[in-house]
Amino acid sequence: MFRATALSLGKALVIAEMVGGKASPATLSAITGATKVGPVTILVAGASAKDEAQVLAKIKPVASVLVTVGEQYSHGLPEEYAPLIDAAVKANGYTHVFAGTSAFGKNVIPRAAARQSCMPIPEVTEIVDENTFVRQTYAGNAITTIKSSDKIKYCTLRGTSFERAEVGGGSAAVADLAATPAVGKAKFVEDQLSTSDKPDLMTAATVISGGRGMKSGDNFKMLEELAAPLNAAVGATRAVVDAGYVPNEMQIGQTGKTVAPNFYLACGISGAIQHVAGMKDSKVIAVVNTDEEAPFFQIADYGIVDDLFKVLPALTEKVKAANGK
């Protein structure tokens, strides 16, 4: 085969984010994206990186895994990760350094890029070729195709734009990478994570969201009641998060999370551009709102102009009845 396409010349490094011993969904999406530029190496670092590497080596498209054991990497501190990424790049000459678009990826990738005087490319939605990337600006109102002249491209890839790599069936080579000396300028104190057994917002097939029309945090129980039989995640707009109705990790939008579920049900949300930026790639969108002029109706596949306090309980009844059959 003499297909010397530009795409085969790259050498990609994906920085793994581990959640409970597994690659995060954002990392799996980044792996799929990375295969577009060439063979994929994963870098995993932390106190239990040795075990995690075995898990990563089984992810199908992964060619090799770099393991760095060191307690300093355990909490994703960018001060520690950036020199390590740098060491990996210098040792193996990667042309691309990727991570998923998550709080971790957004924190680490630009800092690593600064060390090589490269301009990072955040939230890539499409890789056109090894130098050309697509991303959104102005809250998703403009789709921009950009070409990078940097020697190394540091990108975060948007999870909702790339399929997740298949876990299992792979057999990547595992190699050690020496730990860099601990920097110690930042110290991890604690994690305050919301523990919930409900489906994760970023990965749920169905998302039900509430906006100001919900009127109070208590009323979000109505959304949860509908969400339970559907195995759906519950989201919110910035307005209700700001009002303290629900915790901030539920926020969907330009400055919150980006979701693209099969089905998005918006309740009492007007559809401001900042919110729509975080969910407009959902497959089916339905809207419940009393205001028939709400901008959300312009992008919704299905809409009902009615009081959500009437619609939601009735809808929940019907879903439960159908599930019971």
């Binding site: 501190l77 709080a103 339905a286 009735a314 159908a322």
Partner: protein, 258 residues
Amino acid sequence: MFRTIPNYLKVAVCVKRVVDYTVKVRVKDNKVQTANSKMSVNPFDEIAIEEAIQLKEKKIADEVVAVTIGGKKAEEVLRTAMALGCDKAVHVVIPDAAVDSVEPLAVARILQKLHEEIMPDIWLLGKQAVDGDFGCTPQLLAGLLDAPQGTFASKVEVKDKKVTVTREVDAGRQVVELSMPCVLAADLRLNTPRFPKLPNIMKARKKPIDTKDVKALGVDLTPHLSTETVTEPATRKAGVKVKTVDEFYDKLHAAKVL
């Protein structure tokens, strides 16, 4: 030079002039049309300014310097920052033609140069600007300065020469402790910005702005990213509106989502 007294800090806060976040921009002729759009202070920078002023009110900081990098008109965001309580300002002037092509990396480089001059203990920035949506200037600056970074900050406490930052992460919050100098990036939940009062707006006109030509700083502004095309997102066509819950359910059921 080291500052030894802990409650005597200097804070530099970075402000960007952007198209107002409520404006829906249009794409035409392969370009985002921003001429004649309403411009304002980037909303995350308002939060950064508020935090800087609160540090001063708590007598943790004794001086707050507002910094902007932008065209001539960017001066107005500095006046706003000073009306809110910043003591003085630095304006790095970019030729108007180049304003749109200045990348976060160049901005971070300029700030790195200013660091030598201002010597702040804390840099406060917004977590992202709502025009480019890059969200990487704080991290780049921290990387260039080799200073620790507290991004997506929702709570900041300064004590004993350490800055404890609560950060908003995907599954909740993470608390980190940073040495100074450090770079912080404000998230929405950090605070609620105040509005400038009229007498303060008047007073702000008299506060000093140190205007610098970007050329004098010797930072290369050549973009690393070139824009090939800019398009509008694919438009979704409006669907159907129904009258009753039964009909609503039936449609959603038929679409196989319920």
